[in-house]
Amino acid sequence: MFERIGHSATAQVRFTFNGETVIGNAGDSLAAALLAAGHKVFRDTPTTAAPRGPFCMMGSCFDCLVVVDGETVQACQTPAQVGLVVTSPPVPRAQP
């Protein structure tokens, strides 16, 4: 669980994640805003549908992948912006 210090003066940013409204602070990455809002699981893996959330927060692990505007992006490298529609990436059909 994460809690925020200070930053009360910062403007708020409202977007949706899998249909649910999320309110972050201006300057947050999507990952930071989602974590602050209590979202831990960002996606399920395409291989075994295992749940995943952010791990490295610096753009190297690619575990925080989400879809914005039809494109898979790293939530930790994508600024939270007003009105974004963010979803978990679809899980392709499992293979034997």
Binding site: M1, F2, E3, R4, I5, G6, H7, N25, G27, D28, S29, A32, A33, L35, A36, K40, V41, F42, T45, T47, T48, A50, P51, R52, G53, P54, F55, C56, M57, M58, G59, S60, C61, F62, D63, L65, E71, T72, C76, Q77, P79
Partner: protein, 468 residues
Amino acid sequence: MTRPDLIVIGAGPAGMAGATMAAQQGMSVLVLDEQPAPGGQIFRNLGASSTQQRQMLGPDYTAGQMLLDGLAAAPLTLISGAVVWDVDQERTVTYSKDGKAYRVKANYLLLSTGAMERPVPLPGWTLPGVMTAGAAQILMKTSGLLAKDAVLAGSGPLLYLVAVQMLRAGTPPKALVETQTPANYRAVLHHAGGALRGWKALAKGARMLRELRRASAPRYTAARDLAITGDTAASGLRFTAKGQVHHLECATVLLHQGVVPNTQITRALRLDHQWHAGQRCFHPVLSPWGQSSHSQIYVAGDGAAIAGAKAAEHAGQCAAADILRCAGRITAAQRDTLAASAKRNLAGEQALRPFLDALYAPPAAILRPPDAVTVCRCEEVSAGDIRAYARLGCKGPSQTKAFGRAGMGPCQGRTCGLTVTEVLAQATGLSPQDTGYFKIRAPLKPVTLGEVAALHSPAPQQPEGQDP
């Protein structure tokens, strides 16, 4: 921008210092940086940080202001938010920004892409709620977010630093679980060379530990058999310390085992690399000035070898000075003068490293985890899978990649590369050097096909009629 003399990739301490010096000496310099603002991970968001964040993060963080100021004052071009996804032999750099790809070529490249945290493969490390200590620190720097009731586990100076920063912010960690053993402390006695500075660093660590103790944060040492518990998310950390099995309930576990160079670009360029037994990672082979096996490509900072932010700053200046010499702008003697203090200070910082490497050496069970542990997070390949491929005859990571997809996911092997090399080397009996590393290919970061396609300039097609 017309063809610059120098492209610097990464605006951390090495890149900022190197770019600033080269620009001050008259070179046209383009700095490409992935983050929204310069600073690298160490000084991330420093320029926009609040007073409260600066207090929490302390003087090691605010020390970066001089570098930021220097960069801002230097006559150079900085492009933030630029994701470099290809660098080729002819020194053409391809990057994307805001959904569009660009190509730019320079006479010289300075690669200052820094470090990444060493992967910490242990049971349950892929569960949501498990992050790196560095990730927690980035959340403090960028968003003022603090992990509550988190357990910090592992080894290395950053573990203490993050703990103290959390403490200063009023949310101390629930516990500190250290994997260092008495053997680590005995090992440092062999490193007399960097001992004085080493003991100073140790004393700094001890001060931080006293601070933590006063806050009565429980501390466990020589912990082993670490495992994250939980089904769909982390619910606790189990480990053995002093012969006793502990289980700490917590929703957030912050792991750390030091940092390693991010060698994606130097690998993609197929520059020479050498295994470093002390740091348990590969380093690009460099001259004392940072020149790689490609004479017009330099590497500086933690991307070259782990030595910390101060060393990175000095190394960036040394590289810039030698690039100026190589370009014929200054003589070797002028270079030596220009970089005299940087060179001296760099040597001092580097002397400390063997001490810290030995003190915070990652445990064998992390470097070469048991069979059941996931090694490749992207493709979900276990250490046991890698060992099975070794038994089938695989001698190196390229073969295990083909057999089991480890390293084929979106992270391009960043997270599993070193573990695959270590596990394979152990299984085959070859050295890590002879085992080698993944062959890194473009793109260095995923990029949309639309962006790539936009770079296409129609040219005469291949003759048809050939078999596919």
